[in-house]
């Protein structure tokens, strides 16, 4: 079969091309290793840099107050922050900027205000007395019918004294100031963690206990690591780039150099040519998936196993993106333009299809756009097949990918010119 001959030839040609191998296989692997290294925790978990300036000093010796130190210790115990002390005499912003240097990361400064300890003690006392007062008051109204007048008067006197004492406590609150760079993507997470620590500190001070128990369990039957979740996304994204950038550039190059014209003079048909190229892409993509998973097993101990659905999806995805690549090469004359246009299509699609970032994080209008992108369905389908083992999620996405595969391969074959004008 002539398509098989074409398949063998273009595959061999690709496998002997260093740049082809790099962009199709090695680059995705590098990306997986980078993502894996960041999110797997191997080699130590990374921490957020946090500059802390403690302005709450004891009057006697100028040392930090006990409660402010306890709060910093509580922040440390979360194992989330790499805390860097800023002397109270420094301008915190200037100090942090200098410490980070010209290539430094995001600037995050927590300032513990002067009087933090006193305000915390006063505030805590006020709250505790207030709670005690309310409790006793409630009991008073509950037991009043059973008390004589002397008991009532004594109870009332006690309550009045509590109220009077509470009024003497200054109505102040301890204050923490967090300064962040507006462009810092992690700012929201950091603020949320500091707020949680402050709340826990509050509870501890007033002697409150958590009454809601928070349990966490996985939606998957197998216990997957973070890297497992990245594998379908990265695989899908690079199957897309192999078709839209790789095949488009190769097919344009074959056209420009007259290789397609040379083949068209032989009895080879256009359909044989297209099938041969799609088969080559399918093999490349199956190899890419196998290598990614094998590497994931060895380095990151991943557990995803592609099943029949995953393989079917990869084949359909290969057809779909090969169709787009073929269609592009039909319109474009030179390789540089093919590569540029391929990148212009592939890269936004990569980031808007939920392969690297969850769709829920995107604004509504971007989520709407993502629904029009073929990679969204391919990537989601692979996630359902490889991770969630959810056939219903696979069927719907697979159906959409199959329809798009047929549509794009028809478009690709219509646009591919087998005859000159």
């Amino acid at each position: 079969m002539k398509a098989l001959t074409i398949f063998k030839a273009v595959t061999k040609n690709w496998m002997r091309s260093r740049s082809g191998l790099f962009f199709s296989i090695l680059f995705p692997i590098l990306l997986l290793v980078v993502f894996g290294a960041i999110f797997s925790g191997i080699g130590g978990t990374s921490k957020y840099d946090l500059f802390v300036q403690n302005l709450d000093l004891k009057a006697a010796d100028g040392e930090p107050s006990d409660l402010s130190l306890a709060f910093i210790e509580a922040l440390n115990s979360t194992e989330t922050f790499a805390i860097k002390d800023v002397s109270p005499s420094e301008n915190a912003t200037e100090y942090a900027r200098e410490a980070l240097g010209p290539l430094g990361g995001s600037m995050r400064i927590l300032v513990i205000s002067e009087g933090f300890q006193d305000d915390l003690i006063n505030g805590t006392l006020k709250v505790r007395i207030g709670i005690s007062y309310d409790t006793l008051n409630m009991y008073y109204w509950y037991f009043e019918p059973y008390m004589d007048d002397a008991q009532k008067a004594a109870f009332q006197q006690g309550l009045d004294q509590m109220q009077q004492y509470n009024a003497t406590i200054p109505d102040t609150k301890s204050s923490l100031t967090i300064m962040v760079d507006p462009s810092d993507q992690s700012a929201a997470i950091i603020k949320s963690i500091i707020a949680s620590v402050a709340n826990a500190f509050n509870y501890e001070m007033i002697g409150a206990e958590n009454v809601i128990e928070f349990n966490e369990t996985s939606v998957t039957t197998t216990r997957y690591s973070n890297v497992d979740f990245y594998i379908p996304g990265i695989t899908a994204a690079f199957i897309m780039t192999n078709g839209i950038i790789g095949l488009a550039a190769t097919a344009t190059e074959f056209k420009r150099r007259g290789i397609i014209k040379r083949l068209s003079i032989t009895p080879l048909t256009k359909m044989d040519w297209i099938i041969g190229n799609v088969l080559s892409q399918a093999l490349l993509n199956l190899m890419l998936t196998a290598i990614m998973i094998a590497l994931g097993w060895v380095i990151f101990n991943v557990r995803v196993i592609p099943d029949a659905f995953s393989i079917a999806l990869i084949l359909l995805g290969s057809i779909m993106f090969s169709g787009i690549g073929m269609a592009l090469s039909g319109f474009i004359k030179d390789v540089e333009a093919a590569s540029a246009i391929g990148n212009a299509i592939a890269f936004p699609m990569m980031f808007l299809s939920g392969t690297y970032f969850p769709l829920e994080l995107m604004p509504d209008y971007l989520q709407t756009i993502s629904k029009a992108l073929p990679l969204t369905y391919f990537s989601e389908g692979l996630k359902h097949a490889m991770i969630y083992k959810n056939p219903e999620g696979v069927y719907l996405n697979m159906l959409i990918v199959a329809i798009l595969a047929v549509a794009f391969i028809i478009l690709g074959s219509l646009v591919t010119r087998w005859k000159e004008k």
Binding site: K2, A9, K12, W14, G258, I259, R262, P267
Partner: protein, 311 residues
């Protein structure tokens, strides 16, 4: 005369108002080397690609081995029987010479032994060399090998020596001469006058989509090439004036050479006797007209090395 394997009648290829091929008619006979000679844009490649069934025609008819190039059923038959070296031939860079020839061979139901073809084209040393590492001349030879691997009866060679250095060009000429010896019919397009004259049994001069003249190089030269010219290198004005008085048709070129047109052999002998008597001991040579002179006379211009037409 052998039977015609290519029959073209009133062939027209039009792009909007432009007629790239303007009603040409010709035949190519079995076993001959037929050359289409003309400048870039004359319509050579367009005609060849119509005959190779990869470009539709606007009007007229074209038959290869009696099969119509416009009928789908016939196209399959034509493609089985022809071989082609397209203009600026290229192949898969990372495949070897052998793999590239095999690739083209595998497109046919049967093909010749690839190693035989490699031997025929003297490419044995390069059998396992990647295509990207070959010189221009070797790449063209691989192209010719690919054109022959299906053992075609008719081979189209579209500008097979364009862009090659003189040595590589001669190598390709040898290959084409061998094709003729093998009994193949060769349809050659070129803008090199010498190539057409040396290789072709018949030449069609084509310009602006029209065939100006067809015939064997000898026929064309004798009919349209003009007179032979006696050239006396670095002659002087006095000698030139003397020859002009006796024989007429004498001029001097920019290099100081005296050029005297000769009507026949008798006149040549007379002239030689005169020069001996005058003790002219200069370099003397006789220039015979070439296809270039034919082209100049018929089309009214020359073709540059790059293939451009120059008046």
């Amino acid at each position: 005369m052998n039977k015609a394997v290519v029959e073209v009648d009133s062939l027209v290829k039009q792009y909007g108002q432009l007629k790239a091929v303007d009603g040409i008619s010709f035949e190519v006979y079995e076993g001959e080397v037929f050359a289409f000679l003309g400048p870039n844009g004359a319509g050579k490649t367009t005609t060849v690609e119509i005959l190779e069934c990869i470009r539709p025609l606007t009007s007229g008819t074209a038959r290869i081995f009696g099969y119509e190039v416009t009928r789908n059923e016939d196209v399959k038959e034509i493609k089985r029987r022809i071989g082609a070296l397209p203009q600026e031939f290229s192949a898969l860079d990372k495949l070897t010479v052998k793999e590239n020839i095999e690739l083209i061979g595998d497109m046919y139901e049967k093909h010749l032994d690839v190693m035989e073809i490699i031997k025929l084209l003297d490419l044995e040393d390069k059998t396992n060399e990647k295509f990207e590492n070959l010189s221009g001349g070797l790449k063209q030879r691989v192209g010719v090998a690919a054109a022959l691997v299906s053992d075609p009866q008719l081979v189209f060679l579209d500008e097979p020596t364009t862009g090659l250095d003189p040595k590589s060009r001669r190598e390709v000429w040898v290959v084409i001469e061998n094709l003729k010896k093998l009994g193949k019919t060769v349809f050659l397009t070129t803008h090199y006058m010498e190539e057409a004259q040396v290789l072709a049994d018949r030449v069609a001069i084509i310009n602006k989509g029209k065939i100006a003249v067809i015939g064997s190089p000898q026929e064309l030269i004798s009919q349209h090439g003009g007179l032979k010219v006696l050239v006396i290198r670095k002659g002087d004005k006095k000698l030139a004036d003397s020859l002009q008085k006796r024989y007429g048709q004498t001029t001097m070129n920019g290099n100081g050479d005296i050029l005297v047109k000769i009507d026949d052999v008798d006149e040549l002998w007379q002239m030689m006797t005169t020069l001996t008597e005058m003790r002219v001991g200069k370099d003397i040579e006789i220039q015979t007209p070439t296809i270039e002179d034919v082209f100049l006379k018929i089309v009214g211009g020359r073709i540059t090395e790059e293939g451009e037409f120059k008046q």
